[in-house]
């Protein structure tokens, strides 16, 4: 436990990690702000602005010409049977055209900004996990640490625990603050959110926090394996992005279930259904209409097994290798 606390202090004290956490906070703030702003209720000033815009549109030469042209040949504009009155009805601008705005629906936020924030947060935690381990290798301080605690498995596990706890707690705080802001905004606007939606938000946020923690842990384990920060980030994102593209190109039906992106989505959204877009499917002619479903459990198993393989390889190699 003493070593875990030391590693947590090391985690907190790293300037690069502090900057990444600050970036995560700013990102969450930006997501919250844009969501709240884009769904703000229409007020008197907005109505006045819309009416003024309508006035400007109606007095424009272009509108007058178009209206006159329509009234001369209404059927060219509105189809057979249209009359000149229809032209005025359909072309005259109205204030509500300029007042279209979405309402703050938390279930929609969960599926859009909520998911986006979690994915970006997990990406930041991946970088935090890799920089935490990478700094020890780059500075050579790993050997110094092992002169004080030579039990390598213990050192590996203490660092892993610190990364997981640090990333999980930071993600939990950030996501909690984001959703608290959303609930407060909804409350202030008198929008009620059903219990089932609230439960779905809680579950998704919980899974998002776990994903961020697991992402950081996986990145840490991979960096301990490769001993290089940039190399690890490259491998991580190559696996996530290039791997998905390679899998999609394989001529095997339903192979998309092995894509990391689909499994992450399945984990976050409690299952994910998508069209089979493999080459084999496309060769069949026309659009693929076969759906593939990855369940929450399958997504969890995929991510868990991947993490376990990397972590075990990393730990075993760290125990045996020469330390520079």
């Amino acid at each position: 436990m003493r070593l875990v606390l030391v590693e947590l202090t090391r985690f907190r004290s790293r300037r690069a990690i502090a900057l990444m956490l600050l970036a995560a906070v700013l990102l969450a703030t930006l997501f919250a702000f844009t969501t709240i702003w884009d769904t703000r209720p229409v007020n008197a000033a907005d109505v006045a602005r819309a009416e003024a815009q309508v006035e400007r549109d109606m007095s424009s030469r272009w509108f007058k010409q178009e209206l006159a042209s329509c009234e001369e040949n209404p059927e060219n504009y509105s189809g057979p049977g249209a009359t000149a009155e229809d032209c005025a009805e359909s072309m005259t601008p109205r204030p509500e055209w300029y007042l279209e705005r979405r309402q703050l629906v938390l279930d929609d936020v969960r599926n859009e900004a909520g998911i986006g924030l979690v994915v970006l947060l997990a990406g930041i935690m991946v970088i935090i996990g890799t920089t935490f381990a990478g700094a020890d290798w780059a500075s050579g301080s790993m050997s110094n640490q092992l002169l004080f605690e030579p039990r390598r498995a213990k050192v590996w596990l203490a660092k892993a625990a610190a990364v997981f706890v640090g990333a999980t707690v930071a993600s939990a705080v950030i996501l909690t603050a984001f959703w608290a802001a959303m609930f407060v905004a909804a409350e202030v606007r008198g929008i009620t959110t059903g219990a089932s939606v609230q439960e779905a938000i809680r579950a998704e946020a919980f899974r998002g926090v776990l994903l961020a923690g697991v992402g950081a842990l996986g990145a840490y384990a991979l960096t301990m394996l490769l001993r290089h920060t940039v190399g690890t980030v490259a491998v991580f994102f190559a696996y996530a992005i290039a791997g998905t593209a390679v899998i999609a190109a394989l001529p095997i039906s339903g192979v998309g279930r092995w894509s990391v992106g689909n499994n992450v989505t399945a984990w976050l959204q409690d299952g994910y259904e998508f069209y089979d877009e493999t080459i084999a499917c496309r060769r069949g002619g026309g659009a693929c209409d076969q759906m593939v479903k990855v369940t929450l459990e399958q997504g969890a198993t995929y991510l868990g097994v991947t993490l376990a393989v990397v972590a075990v390889a990393s730990l075993l190699l760290f125990r045996r290798r020469d330390i520079p």
Binding site: S139, S141, L147, I323
Partner: protein, 311 residues
């Protein structure tokens, strides 16, 4: 019989470079460092000193051989003895963005040393007042001092120092040497790996010399120096040519140097005097030529290079 703090038998380290070259860094090395005092560990660059130290400390795996620290086989029992060992291996290695104090505090906390221990270690190496500055802004000398401070955190019984005076200014070198001597006198065993022969001769009680990964010689510094130099006598006579001829005729190896003779042979000073006096060659100077550690070291490592080449 005094305890042996460091023991290595048949120690070997082989590895492959990234280009596939097979390297034998240490081959069948035997090493024994007795408890107390300062023991020098000498060898030319690339002779395997640092690799040996890294194997002893569990940072590198031995390909073959046995090692013991305080009688415990390592690396298996390293956790049991590591609290008694302080070490600096090669350059100091700390987190560059942390202050000196922060780096030390993290190491101290990992072994349960309270913050007063950090204060004491910093004070001992003269870094108090600079301890809150970032490590990456330290001079090489300050980094070296911090590394030594880290070794003192555990109040060790064995201190392994790899080139500890690298980068220090003359005052710093003197301070560190004084500290090493003081530690050796106070009962701490110090293994000092250094390429500065004068430093080893000044500071160390005993020494192990390695070359090409093998032990070439070991023992008390005085004994090693004496064994390689006591037989040579520097002789001053009025007629060096005649004296040289006469000594050579009696089985001595003689070389001339600045009007003097350097005489090697089994005999003692009184025999040389008697031989020359019998020929009415009277000695006005007769001094034993004592080799210094440098000449012993150069002779041994030259021999090792020749024999390695022959193999």
């Amino acid at each position: 019989m005094s305890e042996t703090v460091i023991e290595a038998e048949g120690l070997r380290k082989e590895f492959r470079t990234r280009r596939g070259r097979h390297i034998v860094a240490v081959q069948d090395l035997d090493l024994a460092v007795p408890a107390g005092g300062v023991h020098g560990f000498l060898g030319p660059n690339g002779s395997g000193k640092t690799t040996t130290i890294r194997m002893l400390l569990g940072l590198a795996r031995a390909s073959k051989g046995e090692m013991r620290l305080f009688g415990k086989p390592v690396p298996r029992h390293l956790p049991e003895v590591m609290n008694r060992v302080g070490a600096v291996v090669e350059q100091p290695k700390f987190v560059p963005t942390f202050s000196g104090r922060k780096n030390l505090s993290l190491l101290a906390r990992s072994v349960g040393v309270p913050s007063v221990g950090v204060d004491a270690a910093l004070d001992r190496v003269g870094l108090t007042g600079r301890d809150r500055e970032r490590y990456k802004g330290y001079s090489l000398g300050m980094k070296q001092r911090l590394a030594i401070a880290a070794t003192l955190l555990k109040d060790p019984d064995l201190l392994i120092l790899d080139e500890p005076t690298n980068g220090l200014d003359p005052a710093g070198i003197r301070d560190i040497r004084d500290m090493i001597r003081h530690l050796g006198e106070s009962g701490v065993t110090v293994l000092l790996s250094s390429h500065i022969l004068a430093e080893v001769q000044q500071v160390c009680d005993s020494v192990s010399i390695i070359g090409n990964g093998r032990l070439l010689a070991a023992g008390k510094v005085d004994d090693l120096v004496g064994a390689h130099g006591a037989a040579t006598m520097r002789v001053g006579v009025a007629d060096p040519a005649a004296a040289a001829d006469h000594l050579q005729a009696n089985g001595y190896a003689v070389t001339r140097e600045n009007g003097h003779l350097l005489v090697d042979g089994p005999g003692r000073a009184d025999q040389i005097t008697r031989l020359l006096a019998a020929k009415e060659l009277y000695v006005h100077e007769l001094t034993p030529v004592r080799a210094d550690l440098e000449s012993v070291f150069l002779q041994l490592t030259k021999d090792a290079t020749i024999s390695a080449g022959a193999e």
